[in-house]
């Protein structure tokens, strides 16, 4: 004795709105909980970093960061450096002379300091307060040198945006999340 099947009734506007509002509210609460859970776990467990092997030195790190001066800085692996007299990370491609005169320097902000060690070796040190993360020196060093200069996100500056604005435009897809207890991807060998 099954009841007679009723033909489908059109849904009234009131019922539709009521059901829609309920579903929307439930979805919203779920999404909020999800975002909260993800954000809290992300903030605690991972940070943004640049993989030096993928970096293509596109210059976006200098211009795309939300900070006025980028959180990305050039860092130097002294173990790899050749301490070259003609450092292609320090000098313009065709310098007038191998001196520290401004017109000979590649860095647009003169953020690299050149110090004589002994003939013919020179040490190169990055002044991070001046470095804008443009990667010009990194390109020079990688193109003709040992590749000891490379870019890293400095976590004393980075605000760890949920969606990193540099990562969004990074031409080499070099940005990735790394564990917060190992926040740097260091180059230790060639």
């Amino acid at each position: 004795m099954n009841p007679k099947p009723q033909p489908n009734q059109p849904i009234s506007r009131r019922n539709f709105l009521r059901d829609g509002t309920r579903i929307a509210a439930m979805t919203g609460i779920g999404a909020l909980l999800g975002v909260a859970a993800t954000r809290s776990s992300t903030a605690k467990t991972s940070v943004w970093q640049i993989d030096p092997a993928k970096c293509v030195r596109c210059g976006q790190c200098a211009t795309a960061c939300v900070l006025k001066q980028s959180a990305v800085k050039c860092v130097h692996s002294y173990a790899i450096c050749g301490y070259c007299n003609l450092c292609t990370g320090y000098f313009e491609p065709e310098p007038n002379a191998l001196t520290t005169a401004a017109e000979n320097q590649l860095c647009p902000t003169a953020a690299i300091k050149r110090t004589f060690i002994e003939d013919p070796y020179y040490e190169y040190t990055i002044d991070e307060t001046k470095c804008i993360g443009c990667a010009k020196c990194v390109e020079g060093c990688n193109r003709f040198g040992n590749g000891s200069l490379y870019l890293q996100v400095r976590h004393d500056r980075c605000v760890n945006c949920n969606e990193c604005s540099i990562a969004r435009v990074c031409a080499g897809d070099a940005f990735r999340r790394v564990p917060v207890d190992e926040p740097y991807l260091l180059k230790l060998t060639h």
């Binding site: 070259c84 292609t88 491609p93 390109e139």
Partner: protein, 343 residues
């Protein structure tokens, strides 16, 4: 009235369909905008521009190419020419012996990678297997193995005279002098203030040695961007070379990486990074370009900081003054001859 009702009610299915369509369209638009932003972008205002250095001024190009052929084995590293005009190419675990047109004459099979070779006037072939030297007769039969001189030995260049064999050891930054029986007779080029020898600087393993007709050795000192001339006893007689990216000098961390000698005594240099082959006078005055960067486009791309032993060129000169240029990336040899009336 019925028409009005049909407009007022939206079915759940219809609503879902329209919502999903709108969401998909919005997502696609956002993705395309992001992709376009990342890829098109604006030109890099901080670009490191060396394009102008990749073009050689035609006035310096005094050579033209008259041949090109592949090396029959992979991983070619060094090239030398024997007394009969044959080419000896160290490639993989072989020394390939080729005629001047690239035809295979024979090959010497080895137990490890051949790093370089030199051929004596009597046909004896000296081959570096990184840490020691092995000897072969002109038929490819092994005739001897010399003891390795040390743990860090990495022999990257060999030169043979009437009574001496000189081995450029990149690992220990020294040129070792042997007699023809393999007995160590001297060490050349080690840093020594009393003898005014500055020492070799080798950011990458490219130490080469050639025995010049003037009786002096020519050794490249790539970290100093120089070529040095030593007596067989180890006295430094002459130094030339300038660190610059301009055509007249040597650039990058370490150049020149290889040397060859023309019949009249002028010196051919090979560079990596900006791969080019040039000719200098005996005193070190820049004279001409055998082949510029534009000749070795793939080689110019490959000098990789993750492995600075990749890329580069080597050269050898035959009795007629033709320069054979080995491209380590293309694994081929170009034959260059001087243009009529050049220079």
């Amino acid at each position: 009235m019925g028409e009005l009702l049909s407009h007022r009610f939206v079915s759940r299915r219809g609503f879902m369909k329209r919502s999903m369509g709108a969401a998909a369209a919005a997502g696609l638009a956002a993705w395309s905008a992001r992709a376009a932003g990342a890829k098109s972008g604006t030109p890099n205002p901080f670009a490191y521009d060396v394009d102008r250095l990749k073009k050689t001024d035609p006035k310096w190009l005094h050579y033209r190419q008259i041949g090109q052929f592949k090396v029959p084995r992979e991983e070619a590293r060094r090239l030398t020419i024997g007394p009969a005009g044959r080419l000896y190419v160290s490639a993989g675990n072989y020394v390939c012996v080729l005629d001047a047109q690239g035809g295979r004459v024979t090959e010497i099979a080895l137990s490890a990678s051949a790093r370089c070779a030199a051929v004596a006037r009597d046909g004896t072939v000296y081959v570096s297997l990184r840490d020691h030297v092995e000897l072969f007769d002109d038929k490819g039969q092994r005739r001897g193995t010399w003891e390795s001189p040390g743990r860090r030995t990495w022999i990257t260049g060999l030169a043979v005279g009437e009574s001496d064999v000189f081995a450029a050891d990149s690992g220990n930054r020294v040129v070792l002098r042997y007699d023809r029986s393999g007995k160590l007779a001297g060490r050349i080029g080690e840093k020594n203030k009393d003898r005014n020898v500055p020492g070799f600087i080798l950011p990458s393993p490219f130490l080469d040695v050639e025995l010049h007709q003037d009786g002096l050795l020519r050794v490249n000192n790539p970290g100093r961007h120089q070529v040095e001339a030593y007596t067989p006893e180890g006295d430094l007689e002459l130094v030339w070379g300038k660190a610059t990216m301009s055509i007249e000098g040597f650039c990058g961390c370490c150049n020149p990486i290889a040397l060859a000698l023309l019949p009249d005594g002028r010196i051919v240099t090979c560079e990596k990074g900006l791969p080019r082959v040039k000719v200098y006078s005996v005193k070190g005055e820049f004279e001409s370009v055998v082949a510029g960067v534009e000749t070795f486009a793939e080689n110019a791309k490959v000098c990789d900081p993750s492995d600075c032993t990749t890329g580069g060129l080597d050269a050898a000169v035959d009795a007629a003054g033709r320069v054979y240029v080995l491209d380590l990336v293309a694994n081929d040899i170009r034959v260059m001859t001087r243009k009529a009336g050049a220079g």
